[in-house]
Symmetry: C3
Subunit: 332 residues, 3 copies
């Protein structure tokens, strides 16, 4: 039992990824996207895990991440069940969350979990590891805490955008917006620190700068970074511009002063300033951070980034369920 549990691969935090892992996910994703080009390739993918079942346990609403994971399951032929409302019958009947999740685990081979409760994924992973039939957990976002698969898709998008341009190493990445509460930025910065000579510029309103723990982590790792309340002046030097929105769903009414975000919006005229080979990213959904007219510019990568999210999740699921070794290019 213990032996089995040790071999179980949970995806709980971006902190568990090292560079070889990131590179293997990028390579897997590349092959999967090649397979997507043909009907035969798609059918091969659909057969890979068609004997397996996943539960999408999403008690924190997220249409985008839910659909991305569900589509990843569809691509691999994995049948999926879903819980999207925490006020389900069992809980109304007084059941503990531990009992609920152990029950769900008994029906499936994988639990993909999004919850407003920080640390819950880790707790459930530990609980299941102690049972005779543990299943892997993938953290699909745990409150303001972790969102490891967002970080993966961001890395993949950067790596592929810079493929013919030396990769991520040596690049300057400008991260903009609410850097205090956005878990996306926190995870991405940590992963970028795994690459060589990356320079990060954090541009945010004064009260929304990066957290102390991230500042400390980057300093310890010897990463070059700069914090600034300016935005436009950094556009010229950035290889990647990562825009984010204000995370006001975490606001407590009345506690936060309204911030004038307009200075941190990518307006249409910015296109003249930024490098011709730069990439523009956004974890989406956006509000007014990026002018929709920018969508048609070839440097805009945020739509591709969304679709990359689906493909990297396909790659991750194959890895977690041990089917990554069967992801091979079709014979030519």
């Amino acid at each position: 039992m213990k032996d089995k549990a040790t071999k179980m691969m949970h995806i709980l935090s971006a902190k568990q990824f090292d560079r070889p892992f990131l590179e293997s996910i990028c390579e897997l994703t590349d092959v999967i996207r090649r397979l997507d080009k043909t009907r035969d390739g798609l059918r091969y993918l659909k057969g890979l895990l068609s004997h397996q079942r996943a539960m999408l346990y999403f008690t924190q609403p997220s249409t985008r991440t839910f659909l991305s994971f569900q589509s990843a399951c569809h691509i691999l032929g994995v049948a999926s069940s879903e819980i999207r409302d925490s006020s389900t019958s069992s809980e109304r009947k007084g059941e503990s969350i531990n009992d609920s999740l152990r029950t769900f685990s008994s029906y499936v081979d994988l639990i993909i979990m999004r919850t407003p409760v920080p640390g819950l994924c880790d707790e459930i992973a530990k609980l299941l590891d102690d049972t005779p039939r543990p299943v892997p957990i993938i953290n699909a976002g745990s409150g303001p805490d972790e969102h490891p698969t967002q970080a993966l898709l961001d890395i993949y998008t950067l790596a592929r955008s810079f493929r013919k341009n030396g990769g991520i190493d040596g690049k300057t990445v400008l991260m903009v917006g609410d850097l205090k509460r956005g878990r996306t930025i926190r995870s991405l910065a940590r992963l970028l620190a795994l690459y060589k000579d990356v320079k990060m510029i954090f541009s945010s309103p004064k009260d929304f700068s990066i957290s102390d723990d991230l500042r400390k982590h980057l300093t310890e790792k010897g990463v070059r970074f700069e914090e600034s309340t300016e935005f436009r002046e950094h556009l010229k030097s950035a290889d990647a511009i990562y825009m984010t929105r204000v995370q006001d769903e975490y606001d407590i009414a009345g506690e936060q002063k309204p911030v004038n975000y307009e200075n941190y919006h990518l307006t249409y005229d910015c296109l003249d300033i930024i490098k011709p080979e730069a990439v523009i990213m956004h974890p989406m959904p956006r509000r007014k951070e990026i002018d929709p007219r920018i969508d048609d510019d070839r440097r805009a990568k945020y739509w591709r980034q969304e679709r990359n999210g689906m493909w990297t999740r396909v790659a991750l699921i194959t890895k977690v369920l041990g089917a990554d070794k069967n992801i091979i290019l079709p014979e030519l």
Copy 2:
């Protein structure tokens, strides 16, 4: 890109159907129903599009149409995702409907869309056509506006009911009920006008007669039609009797005077009046428009009509996704 967009087939309005299109859908549906008779035929269908994914975007509730389309996807092996509540997280996060639907499109190969907003399907189809990866849109009902697949299944049901009796050409079709607000009648009448020598009789309370634009259209096309506040006196001459219910979900409270609909109900004794070869139809759900004892009469086609809805949608999806050429009869 533009070239790709031009070839994309969207199903947005019953107005886009011509007679050859209707006939090709009827023929496809016939073959599909033959395939449904055997386990091998069903398995052949299920393999046809098993590498594709559809989104059912139903922000206007409709259990019946939803299940009909979902079953059509199941029959073809198309994996389906769903949005059934417009107040989803992304929209709460301030995202535009355009951004939401472009996101959804990035995960799937087809969007089936039911919305209370007239014209939204057209707008989204146009938006997607301008992206590098457009997907087809099928309008599954857009408010009081359009419901093209309902019109398709009605035509198929009429065509097959009259198969041994000369087809739809030359028939007299009696349409009964709330003809003012029912989009079903409006679309059906337009399609029937594509057939030869069809006569239409519109029977409704005075304030619920057909709209001016339909009256004008039929007049321009030289279609024979008659409007009447009588109902029973027309039963004798009708080849098809199409009953509808009052569309009071579109009522604004207090604005509409209550109408005595009882005069427009098909009661059990009507069976003695109507032709022995007539067909009785209803888009369902019904209230009291048709006595349930009529269900057992062989002229009652409304249950078959519902199942036909599923089969014509199977046919339509194969056409939109380019698999119609693979719908072939099994070797005998």
Copy 3:
């Protein structure tokens, strides 16, 4: 039509099961669990009914039973649709429940039905039997009335726990808790009465003893049983201990006096009293009826019991849809 209807197998009540049926379900379930051990076995199962479609009509909430049935459908490749809210659009549009279910039946090959309305499953089964295209109904719980598949999984769990120990015949089964309103106990007791020399002990607070009809039935069948307000004193003699929770979701506010249930909880120290080969069961969800530290004891079978629920439902679906003859052990 009538002929077809006669052959349709509905699963409406635990009362319809006889011992040969129970044994055939147990044997089928055994083979299915053997097939589950290998990828090839799972793929064989998934192909068995992949041309069929089921509707999960769950207008009474039940996450656990829903997921168990949905997973059973996934295992067999049966595509499933769901209705989980009775206030759906058609019903809002004034449709009768009979019309709704006849409509749903036209899209699928099987309806799995959970409803708060006693007798509704029987009524719908009868209605469908009179149509040209009846489909089987499986009752997945009908209010305080029937829950035949819970009874099946309980019997399977008992039979397999006692496999090397003479089977269910001759065993002493202690049933504990709210025996008045728990349909689980009622159905299980009736099925246990089909086995030889079973002794039942019913342990409950005074006002929650078994119902008169069950008492009468057991007496007529000549079953040995005992009723008691004591709990701990019976632990020593029990081969199976079946714990249940108070069914207070059926309480009418203010009508029921609060009961001190603590005397009917299986506490950790009970493990020292009960037989070394005894089995501890619970239909789940639990509240405080069983100390979670008991989960790790090898006599605790309630987690296995949940997974058995999924497997017996797989077996039942194959039987109802006529695929049970194809459930065969892979060649060795």
